[in-house]
Symmetry: D2
């Protein structure tokens, strides 16, 4: 991949600026707290995405490289063992220093150095690809910033508001659910190799699909409320055994962020506590909950190949592919045939997580515009609920 310098620079500026903009409604305290080990403070996201450019781009390519602050190399490493030590993940919220303004200064410094690097004449495809990887990486963290902030604010009994509803909650959709059939057969999925993709999206390869049908839209909050009120959380026959034990151990009876107030359902959102809107897509479901709902509805979750094959044929029959909710598939996150991890530390990006996680397809209302793709493979453990995760139903045919 090559790209004109000025194009890459303007893309760099846009993506990097969006991260800072997402943090703008937040106080320094908001940006520093960590509500659970799975989530990270906003400040940490802002620093870690900067660390990525400093460590993987500047250190290798900047003449006379010197780190902005040597201690940041450890503090803001996430999981790259090839790069050295890292701060324990569950303690990221204790890093009250550096302060938010210092992290913003770190960003400004790295951005200035990146601009200098980009303005020099000779930088080839490999460097451009690495920078693009850094920007895609930052976009992933932009989604996490929103989901992590939502989780943090949900722990506050004051139900704080991050932004106005019109900015952060997608409009309800009231279409009738219909089913669309696909013949399957010997098809191909995976990234072709043009344009950016993460390593886990390739290689493009053949796979065989049996005939199947997909639902035209995602499951709504009203539909899921029927499952809740019909005793879906109390019937073990609907659940995977592990899901049932997980549900029971935590005493769960409804989706994350749902609250029952004086006989009515409410949902905590980035716009604060809102009455449950039935036509809205249900989100914040674990794999277990999605699977149990599908069984209750006489359906199942799609495989990722089914999803991609249907999606490749266009959004006409199958709507809400992107921009609403990540869609759980029944596919365990595994390497595609012929998958090779990238050389060096960035090779730790994807491959080492290929166990006990499930693939989600599409994208959500929190995904940065332009970030998702037909071949994009998001993945989370079956217990994850704090992402914008929903349900696309599937069925066997014939």
């Amino acid at each position: 991949m090559t790209m004109a310098s000025n194009t890459l620079q303007s893309r760099y500026t846009a993506v990097r600026g969006r991260s800072v903009a997402l943090a703008a409604p937040l106080s320094p305290e908001d940006c520093s707290a960590q509500s659970m080990p799975d989530a990270s403070p906003t400040k940490w996201h802002l620093a870690h995405t900067t660390w990525f450019f400093e460590t993987f781009v500047l250190e290798a390519h900047e003449p006379g490289f010197a780190p902005f602050a040597p201690a940041f190399r450890v503090l803001f490493n996430s999981y790259y063992n090839g790069v050295g030590a890292k701060h324990p993940r569950p303690q990221r919220g204790l890093l009250t220093r550096p302060a938010l303004h210092e992290v913003l200064a770190y960003r400004a410094d790295v951005d200035a150095r990146m601009a200098r690097l980009l303005s020099t004449v000779a930088h080839g495809a490999a460097l451009c690809a690495l920078i693009e990887l850094g920007l895609q990486h930052e976009q992933q963290h932009q989604e996490l910033m929103l989901t992590d902030i939502l989780h943090l604010l949900s722990c506050n009994p004051l139900f704080p508001v991050y932004a106005a509803a019109c900015d952060v909650v997608p409009p309800p959709v009231a279409a009738t659910l219909t089913w669309h059939s696909f013949d399957g057969g010997l098809i191909e999925i995976g990234h072709k190799g043009e344009g950016f993709a993460f390593d886990n999206e390739g290689p493009r390869h053949r796979t065989y699909l049996h005939p199947y049908a997909l639902a035209s839209r995602l499951v709504t909050q009203a539909e899921f409320a029927a499952f809740v009120e019909g005793g879906g959380y109390q019937n073990p026959m609907l659940w995977l055994a592990e899901g049932w034990d997980w549900r029971a151990a935590q005493g769960l009876n409804h989706p994350l962020y749902w609250h029952r107030v004086e006989g009515e359902w409410y949902c905590f959102t980035l716009a604060g506590l809102q009455p449950l809107e039935g036509d809205q897509t249900v989100v914040h479901l674990s794999y277990y909950e999605a699977d149990a709902y599908a069984r209750w509805a006489g359906a199942r979750l799609p495989t990722e190949a089914e999803w991609e094959h249907a999606a490749a044929q266009g959004a006409d029959p199958v709507a809400q592919l992107f921009g609403v909710a990540w869609q759980w598939t029944q596919s365990s996150y595994a390497p595609y045939p012929g998958f090779r991890v990238a050389a060096g530390a960035v090779g730790e990006y994807n491959g080492k997580f290929m166990v006990n996680q499930y693939v989600l397809r599409g994208s959500s209302c929190a995904t940065p515009p332009g970030h998702a793709r037909l071949t994009y493979r998001n993945f989370f453990p079956a217990t994850a609920r704090w992402q914008f995760t929903g349900i696309r139903l599937a069925r066997d045919l014939g």
Copy 2:
């Protein structure tokens, strides 16, 4: 499936008798203890397999059915929610009553009633199939009896002996490891529908395989010792991230049951503590360890389709398919296309475990003779080490 009554009766007698024989070398105390939540007491296995026949066969088919002891319905239910309450699994070792001799009396009673039932004229295919399911179920528990006893005895610093080595440890195999290539393509796997199979083995279906190679034999203890001594347990780049965290949290540096005594490796077996035999197949590995070893060896684990496709072509090129060690595959345990769970309580047998487990193929030295099949799908979580689990290496071709 139908079967002459006397044939079924003699098979019933043989399988049921083998369970009691396996317990013969053990004291009442040995049979009653539970060494970890994943394992069960021998006495519990003896009772639960009997409960299966009483609950699913006699209760439905025996005229004037009355339970041997009503309390056993709860005590010896494993996980069938459709049947009612169950005793908490981690507390099975506290059931010192009923005593071993009472459980043996329970077995004798059910066996006598089953014999009466089998001697009556009219019993059709459905009943025969249910009885065969009970016998296959009992054979699965026979393997668990051995693995659970091994684990229990391993917790005793006296290193007790269950049986002579010649009876319980397979002879070492010293063949050179060679690679055998397979073209793949559009093939079929899964059970055809003739003879007994568990529901999870079907339906037989098409799948597409890319060219691959399989190792001619399983990894040996000497080969794995080279990984151990070459720092394999200390290098995070070889491990799945989750596997590395699991390894570190438990401080693991070698396979389960290996002991370092005065500079030499020993292995605890059903025949007691034995010097490590290099030509023996390495067993008692978790998925994480198997995967890390494969990466270290420049290979990978096979998929279950690759394994079955190769195995279907005969044991000539690919040896040690059965009777030595279960072979981890990189395939997550998931329903085959078109899979339907059986109706009723026995439908809880397999389908509800299809999450966060990995498929193992073949069979082990502890598997009852005649129990395994080409299409057999064993499954365990990635952390499981107390089964006889080993490594068959695979590679991409072309």
Copy 3:
């Protein structure tokens, strides 16, 4: 202390024989299981008390000493760091080997060697004192055998019976509760130095008591049921903060072993499940529950000095001092002024537990006859419920 050999021998025989008699109603399985880390298997008690004589008496005094089984030195050490390694306490229930009959053989062997030692002419006061300590130690374990068996059987939904009620449940007592006043002043408590006592009972020393009153008897099950049904377990103002958190975390609403069956209270005892007898003394209470009840009753728990001072004046005004239930005092278990630990390993007997435990006085229905004393200091953590622990109320005067 000195004692004629034949007297000591007959006492040795009687005490040692009682341990075996207590185990007689139990199966090998019953004797081998461990229901929680705080409890030990009967078999372990039988072996450990034997280990005490072998380690502290025979090893030092038997000519040509050789251990019965070298491995037992580690297996049956409880907590004597001075003696060497020990088997992890929570894993005592996994020691299915040695079998019960082997432990009984161990007892017989040590008893025979002890008899030989006792029959030799020259053994002085120090040796006699050590043997007496071993016998007192064994009597302590006899009480634990009963409490631990009760706990084990309570985990079995079959509610097994250990013995007939007439043998193990003290008869109900229906006296009216009256209050008896004591002036206090500068008094003395602690053991005088004649006859056997544990090191923690001395030295006898002065202490100052303010005027106080003690209840004439222990709290009954009917009285405690009034607390339960009056919301005592739901009112945080009655509880110590730590007790309230403990109660809430475990969801406790009544004493250990109480069951509500169709609107009536039952209590699990060594004689099986029995209807709650109101005039019976309430037992199996933690310190927290005892303290909360006392506050609810407008009283408090006595100090150990108050208890001993009152008890020294005879059982006339203050009944149920011994043989019914251990009585929680508000005194933290601490060394008396001038306390010195004994030299050598037996010095680990008492002193090292003097933190975060509370003193109980008197004795219970499970205490061996003749074992308790006016100055006896039993001690358990505030959470302990599985002992026969009850409540003697006290009040300030003047």
Copy 4:
């Protein structure tokens, strides 16, 4: 207690102002984070101490009372069950809202209302006593602010500095340790009833002391380093059994905040990481560590009555009574004879913590000037290390 309004007002202003001054060196992030459940965020301390005045003083005495923010009643309640619900303690660090500036506004509002209340003519002894209790309560939290901040900063690998060493680290003291004897006898301890005291300091009462000796000063860092380097943390015979298990489970080998850097000891302090100063008093010790050191030194910890009796005779023989380090006593925290809890919610202040805690006497370098007293009873669990806790040795005499 009565006091001229203007005196009370000026005292109120001084104490309240000091809390804000202590927070001045900290960023909003620093003030919002919680490093462990035992510690609280600075912001929470600032709000909770304000809540105390609003809830216990203004609500009862202010005409037309309306809360500053109704939600704060729950958010900033610590443990007063009588007042209603409370935010879960381990989640105080997630309260990023209200922001620090809002909490400071809350303080200003309550201070203004308190000033109005104090300026009115009629307020009697009970109200003055309640206000004084609020000020003493705030001073206690001022010490916690410093210890909690130290703990938070210690979790940051950057070793941040709170203040210059001259302001927060007491100067080293190099006196020789000498022993001072006390006859004991029938003496009195406890608060007499003049001037302010917490309820747990009374009533003043008689107690009997045996002859004892106290060390002239506290144990130094050099002395404790000799214990560390002499294997004190590796010898179980020096430790209480519970202390040894605690030490082993956490792998502790030295006091909290000590670091070994290139063969030298350093200590993390409010002034950052500092080389260990041998003549400085050792602090941040648990009860277990203090007790083990005392045993190693052939001494013991004093009882609280011994400490108070000696301290009452003046600091001449026994130095470092106040202002250096809290001194562990071997006295469990228990009610004095005749102790009665105060009526109402403030009665939850002390009495409900009287279990499984140990009394500390004196005061530390972090205690506000003028806060401590001869009769002051501080208390913490035996595991607490993050306070400024040190060792005064004692010995039996005669």
